[in-house]
Symmetry: C2
Subunit: 233 residues, 2 copies
Amino acid sequence: MRAVAPNGLTTPSSFPNAMIPTKNLPTPSIRRLPGYLRLLKAARARGERVTSCTRIAEELGQQSVQVRKDLSVTGVSGRPKVGYSIDELIDAIQDFLGWNRKTNAFLVGAGNLGAAIINYQGFAEHGLNIVGVFDSNPALFGSSIKGHKVMPVDDMLGCAKMLNGYDIMVEMGVITAPASAAQTVANQLVEVGVRAIWNYAPAVLELPDYVLCENVKLSESFALLTSQMKNRA
Amino acid sequence: MRAVAPNGLTTPSSFPNAMIPTKNLPTPSIRRLPGYLRLLKAARARGERVTSCTRIAEELGQQSVQVRKDLSVTGVSGRPKVGYSIDELIDAIQDFLGWNRKTNAFLVGAGNLGAAIINYQGFAEHGLNIVGVFDSNPALFGSSIKGHKVMPVDDMLGCAKMLNGYDIMVEMGVITAPASAAQTVANQLVEVGVRAIWNYAPAVLELPDYVLCENVKLSESFALLTSQMKNRA
DNA sequence: TAGATTGTTAATCGATTAACAATC
DNA sequence: TAGATTGTTAATCGATTAACAATC
């Protein structure tokens, strides 16, 4: 019997997952999956049971073959002439993205952006589980965001140890602090033992190899828009 | 005499800019420009006058040839052995991106995310000039965000007309409203006459061809991070 | 001069799209 | 059966990288 790893390689099923060579899955495909997921959930909410790549592509303005290829990374298979089971697709995408399990996270920077992320229901639905909110501004200490008391950033390590005592591991750090503080915060998060950092600060972070990092670059998107406006003016 | 358009095509200088065929400039390059700009401004603040692609590439962990190609879209030229003038590069990038002029914008959705964008100094420095903040929640009407009174979303067109009377055109709409309201808001912004929409709501917007749209997809970035975490676990 | 750098052309790599067989 | 769809292989397209001449 053989198992097909998410990277498409066929490996004996006795092969522990951890030993499957971490393949470079096509980043663009992964980026598009959340869009499909949103659409599929909407369709399910309307009571639909199956859908086709043609329909998804139409709604999103893409090529159906691209949708098919993207969906294939999750391992689901559809039925010719019929299409895909919506339930199955939703499960497969969430599974592939790691969105059907909770991801414990510390968030550092309790300003408007931090509050937006904490309050946004969407991320919670994708498993983001904030277990600590920190800031360096004493004026914010003790205030509450969605039930989370804002704590001094210097208490971060202490809080993590406390949580570890209850077998709660902090896997992710969300940085919504200003760029000037980002590296310091990142260092503290590494101390805490996070495996990944979701960084909203416009700064390049120095991190150990074993810590994943994803930089949200809001200026990129603004740049694309204004440069196009200029070209059209 | 000849002018070199930002698209790299050489055209007679008598050629009106508007008639230069809008070329598809490499999107990845444009996306990387804000990163270079940030670095260059930091270098200038340290008192440096020139820099090289090698140094920029090193600081960002890219290939120097890529930096060179990216910078070339702005039209600047460096001097072999010396490098580029930092001042010149900063000017050229800002010029290319349309960041050295103000872009008047309405922002709709005065929640945490909206407030974050209004308060973030970076966007203001890139020319984002908020001239109206709107929401549908009466509880927010009259409250202030960085000096902007939050107004009822239904007053949007009226406000725009008033501004137009003073020759202030609203060029951009920023949507920080929930996905469920996004299309309605977009329609209202089109009525107002915006040429571009910066959409933070996870929704596909139907817009006339002449309105540019840039969707900020925060889930994309979360998806990349969690899927990698899963692959490593 | 030698060496660091720019600027450009060619080669490589990866992603998208086209074409088409298989299937229900 | 005919037609819509999946799944896959091949062709195309675009972006990155390698190679190298030009320059100061």
